[in-house]
Subunit: 336 residues, 2 copies
């Protein structure tokens, strides 16, 4: 029996939920709205509301892939939860519950790290009124997988497949922050290395939940921008069998980024990813509703282009007349 096998035998049992780190450090995160039975049994019992569909999404964060080794426990937790909530926003769903699969190396399984992680989860779960209802804590390389469960009235979910020729294309907030933040965090020589704004954008990218809910019945398609505008709008195009035309001058980028990285900011906005804004399409007949929302509710959304008929199926997005294929950008972890 080699050392790995010995380790396997020694550690072969699961952490039991009653005595687990989940129960010990995260019990205050188990709100009771719609939760008949939370942490502490083999599974959670949840009560869906009548007339609503269940919305489920899973996202995993791995150290060095999705956050740098310098990230604090609190930062990792808040980013993991925000990223998962963003999928609910993209569906127009109200997030309600989540489970946490936390794999941590032994050297991090201490009170300080776990309390920090719990604090990060607590802040975001309180802000968005979601309850931790279960999970699993395992020894291993740092990896956080969250499954978010929300709900939406039957038939009202925002999907990728509804975009029609002529629809206007909007994005929320500002793009390129995700890539700029990564550059700022990992490169001490970056002119924005100390930007609090970018640090917050990276570790607490605010999921557009409220906006997603408002877009029900207005947007024809919606997606969150995790892989970059070209790739994610490309998903809408593929699902809707349409193409998209963007105008580079309209793409919203924060002045901090465009001034410090004039050479990079448009590329980052188009393909940098990690922005967790929404990209959505709106039929022309409903554009006035969006314009009113923008004017009245502090909603930040910018018109960036329009949906056009499918020319060549695999060349989906044009910007200023230049065709950009999502394949130009290596958003597949295994392709690079």
């Amino acid at each position: 029996m080699d050392s790995r096998d010995a380790q396997l035998e020694q550690q072969s049992t699961n952490l039991s939920s009653e005595f687990s780190l989940i129960a010990k450090y995260f019990k205050d995160l188990t709100g009771q709205r719609g939760v008949e039975l939370g942490i502490g049994d083999d599974a959670a019992l949840l009560v869906p509301e009548p007339g609503r569909q269940i919305v489920v999404a899973t996202d995993t964060l791995v150290e060095t892939v999705h956050f740098p080794p310098s990230a604090s426990a609190e930062q990792i937790a808040s980013r993991a939860l925000c990223v998962n909530l963003s999928d609910m926003a993209a569906m127009g769903a109200k997030p309600r519950w989540f489970t946490l699969a936390l794999t941590i190396p032994k050297h991090l399984a201490n009170k300080q790290w776990l309390q920090g992680f719990s604090r990060g989860l607590a802040e975001i779960s309180a802000q968005f009124d979601v309850a931790l209802v279960g999970g699993d804590t395992t020894a291993g390389p740092l990896c956080i997988s969250i499954t978010m469960i929300g709900d939406v009235p039957v038939g009202e979910a925002l999907q990728r497949s509804g975009a029609q020729v002529g629809d206007a294309i909007y994005v929320t907030g500002e793009l390129a922050d995700g890539a700029a933040a990564l550059q700022a965090i990992t490169n001490p020589k970056s002119p924005l290395h100390n930007s609090e704004r970018l640090l917050t954008r990276f570790y607490r990218p605010q999921p557009q939940i409220e906006l997603g809910i408002k877009l029900r019945g207005i947007a024809s398609a919606c997606i969150d921008i995790s892989d970059g505008l070209v790739a994610d709008l490309g998903h809408i195009c593929a699902a809707s069998s349409v193409n998209a035309q963007l105008s580079g001058a309209l793409i919203p980028v924060h002045r901090e980024v465009s001034e410090n990285y004039p050479q990079h900011s448009l590329r980052w906005a188009l393909s940098g990813g990690d922005d967790y804004q929404l990209c959505f399409t709106v039929p022309q007949v409903r554009r006035s509703v969006i314009d009113e929302l923008i004017a009245e509710s502090g909603l930040t959304a910018t018109l960036v282009g329009q949906i056009v008929a499918c020319k060549v199926c695999h060349e989906l997005v044009e910007i200023d007349g230049e065709i950009l294929s999502p394949n130009n950008r290596g958003f597949d972890h295994f392709s690079s």
Copy 2:
């Protein structure tokens, strides 16, 4: 920027679901029963049946912690799904949908490995009629996290907290197989190194779904045996504020294990874990129902002891008069 940061930047985007390995290799696993929208959008849309509660559980498997490096992709997948289904069995729930968070090192992200993994998932998901509805594939150390979602009629879920003094304690199947299998797999000198039965018990531990459903309204408490009988029965005791008395002679162990490991088999049955059988309690007035089930339906369940009043709260389980605390057994990954 050091090499890890470079790796981070290079790989910072998520695999998008449309182009991801999940969609490519696992699309045939997305059944349509109760699934309005499966893989391919930001989240899945599921349709709960009226009058039922949602049951959710998450379990993670990590290489060398939960399976040996020698495990094939198919074996890892089937074990991951079976282990997660076992939590549904313990709740008396009908499993319906699951999400998969698959973190794999680059050298495994090839067609052969992924097809093997998909085959393992397909076999078990077909057997138990569950649909893969979403997930995330990420580059990193091998780690599989599954969130299983099932349902149960309102008020009928089996919980840990219902055991009463005088209740009979049963276990399904045979115990000690999990620990014996681990020994057999990792030690070529084990007399059972070539036992097909133990290999199957380890990589395809059959979740007791059908039995769990039959136990609704009959069992007063139920749990699946993942950490060993003493630890898991201890959870029932803690949740129900009772103690348990077991009789060692009644604990069912397969002859293959008891004959080859006479010194170990009882200890493995009590604290070896990884058996994924059910332990449940039944009020004396309903024992005849269980006895009929055993006689008529091929149900294998064995009476192993009874629930008694709480003597000392943290010493929960007695076997043949000897008090065993769950703390005797290091079922916390981080305690060893």
